[in-house]
Amino acid sequence: MPDVNVMPIESLDHFRADARVWLEANIPSQSAPLEGPESRAFVLEWQRRMFQGGWAGLTWPSEYGGRSLSVAQQIVWFEEYARSGAPSTHNASFVGINHAGPTIIACGSEEQKAFHLPRILSGDVIWCQGFSEPGSGSDLASLRTRGRVEGDEIVIDGHKIWSSYADIADYQELLIRTDPDSSRHRGLTWLICPMVLPGITVRPIKTMAGPAKFCEVFYDQVRVPIAEAVVGGIGQGWQTAMATLSFERGTASLALQISLVEKVERLASDCTDPTIAPRLADLRADAAALKAMSYSFALASENGTPGAEGSLIRLYFAELAKRASDLAVDLYGIGAPELAGEHGWAFEYLDAFSETIAGGTAEIQRNIIGERVLGLPKGKA
């Protein structure tokens, strides 16, 4: 598939060559474990290696451990990363790298940036997300986990769910209600919650794809220091959370989107079945469109918080990822080596169901596209 001509790729040739050489020399020989302490050790070691090689946090500010490079260079790195077969970026480091870190860059204090950002990039810590609750999924603003301000601390009681990798995480981006008299979007606070604090209990949940990566998290009188933990101000949590979700729905999946385009090309090269070829042709067209849209959006979002248009691309990617894995199962057939194992297409097929759930369901993304991209009247919730 030809490159989409939206940036001066030629000027990045040396950068691309360096990335390719480094990846060829450094890709782990063993496959990535999907859950538990082994997953943590693998992910941190790989992140550490990329950081030491100068390939972590390419667009993050250099004063916090990044390299202050351009989005175009980031894209080239992701292209080479996908081409090389390096471990999926959809792993335990995803939250820290793709939306907790960017939220701290956008909304955090200098102390928070100086403390947390280098640790995320250098492979010292794992982050998880604590937004959803058993009764608050798509309706995030109805969340009930509460925090009581006591002196210079907030005391947390409540219950979060769908917190991927919470069992192996060091920190959580946690959204709670700190004003007991508030409702909906008001009175919320976005916290950095250390997962080792007394009063935190984590229960892993097995997904239908196999691994127990989802978790429930229970908070019983958990005390966090306000100065270190609160990002964006007490009671300002909704605004901070919207920044997080803008990254999650906007640019967080860029590496995965590029990887998907690469995978579709591999499927095309393996397809000899005339009954599947027409579906694959459609898939390639969608992949080419995804590539153009995601590059254009990422370049336009340089140095800022992504806009609502990110939902359009996020949804397009999510549905394409599901169709690609669906086709792969049909193409190779049950029992084929391409389907087997923890990273085979059978796992990808089942894991891809989460793409239209996580970070806002497809229905929520469509609401955002309708109301904030197309400017349609807001419906009654």
Binding site: S132, G135, S136, G137, S138, D139, S142, I161, W162, I205, K206, T207, M208, A209, G210, F214, T275, K322, D326, V329, D330, G333, I334, G335, L339, A340, A346, F347, Y349, L350, F353, S354, T356, I357, A358, T361, A362, E363, R366, A381
Partner: protein
């Protein structure tokens, strides 16, 4: 036309409910990737439900109703092949449970780990292989049925049968896909309707949102269509009807499975939620006999042999 069960069918289904009740068939408490019940399989065989199509005064349609009802359970047993394909063979000439594959006899097959007979559709002939369980390799799959494959055919008793029987097996295999698929769809939809009725977001049941209502209504339409096509195929037992019904089910599966999981949110992605007991199995059936486009082609050939 009569769309109500007749006296025989009512008696069969009542008896089947009693058997299901006596077996205390429940979804596994712990999440499992394969939910196969050997005890249910044995009880069904012993009680004669899998041989109904062989009995005087009973028909293939009666057997199809049994298959459809049992597909709605959260555990699987080798029902559809025994009840619908098995009667093509003289009683006692082949042993159940059955496994079926197209083309390559060494390809992975549903139920082969449990099977005593492997039927291999090779187009112009049918291989009937007596299966020695010790020769079957278990295959890890994420699609609920027990899967296995033979490492080789060396020394296994093998009979070659003619094209006519091969075509009949292929026809009944399509019927089995259609009938079982319709039953699986029904339970999957029931599970989701219950969830969206009781799960509230934005102070409303999820099922009150039109975005969900409309797509669930479409799923219900697909299921009803699939069911009646499957039952018509069982009644007619014709090439065209069986191919059409199987193709319809296979064509409906991807969208239906994705939508049903979508409406259950993250809960629907876990092994703690029962939906996967049916959707895993639907996905496993999707590609059999070449998938929906191959069934459509077969239906066209059977209906318009000159044009196709």
């Amino acid at each position: 036309m009569d769309f109500e069960p007749n006296e025989n069918q009512t008696a069969i289904l009542d008896g089947l409910e009693q058997l299901i009740s006596s077996q205390h068939v429940e979804a596994p408490k712990e999440g499992v990737l394969v939910a196969y019940s050997a005890s249910l399989d044995a009880e069904l065989a012993a009680s004669g439900f899998l041989d109904i199509a062989r009995e005087e005064d009973f028909t293939l349609l009666d057997a199809a109703l049994v298959v459809e009802r049992l597909a709605r359970l959260p555990v699987s047993a080798e029902v559809a092949f025994s009840a619908l394909v098995g009667p093509l063979f003289p009683a006692g000439s082949v042993q159940r449970p059955f496994a079926l594959v197209s083309g390559n006899p060494l390809a992975p097959a549903r139920f082969l780990t449990e099977a005593r007979t492997l039927l291999v559709d090779q187009g112009d002939e049918l291989l009937v292989i007596d299966v020695d369980p010790s020769r079957v390799q278990h295959i890890e799959s994420l699609f609920a049925y027990p899967y296995g494959k033979l490492a080789s055919l060396d020394g296994l008793p093998l009979r070659k049968m003619g094209a006519e029987l091969a075509a009949a097996v292929r026809r009944r295999w399509r019927l089995a896909l259609a009938v079982e698929g319709a039953g699986l769809m029904q339970s999957a939809i029931d599970t989701v309707v219950d969830h969206v009725t009781n799960r509230f977001q934005f102070n409303r049941p999820l099922g009150s949102f039109q975005a969900i209502q409309h797509r669930l209504a479409m799923a219900a339409g697909k299921q009803q269509s699939a069911r009646w096509l499957a039952l018509r195929a069982a009644w007619a037992d014709s090439e065209a009807d069986c191919a059409l019904a199987a193709g319809y089910v296979q064509d409906a599966i991807p969208t239906l499975v994705y939508d049903l999981h979508q409406f259950c949110g993250a809960m629907g992605l876990t092994l703690e939620f029962p939906l996967h007991f049916w959707t895993y199995r639907l996905k496993a059936m999707l590609g059999e006999l070449g998938g929906s486009s191959a069934q459509a082609r077969a239906a066209a050939v059977a209906t318009w042999p000159d044009a196709a």
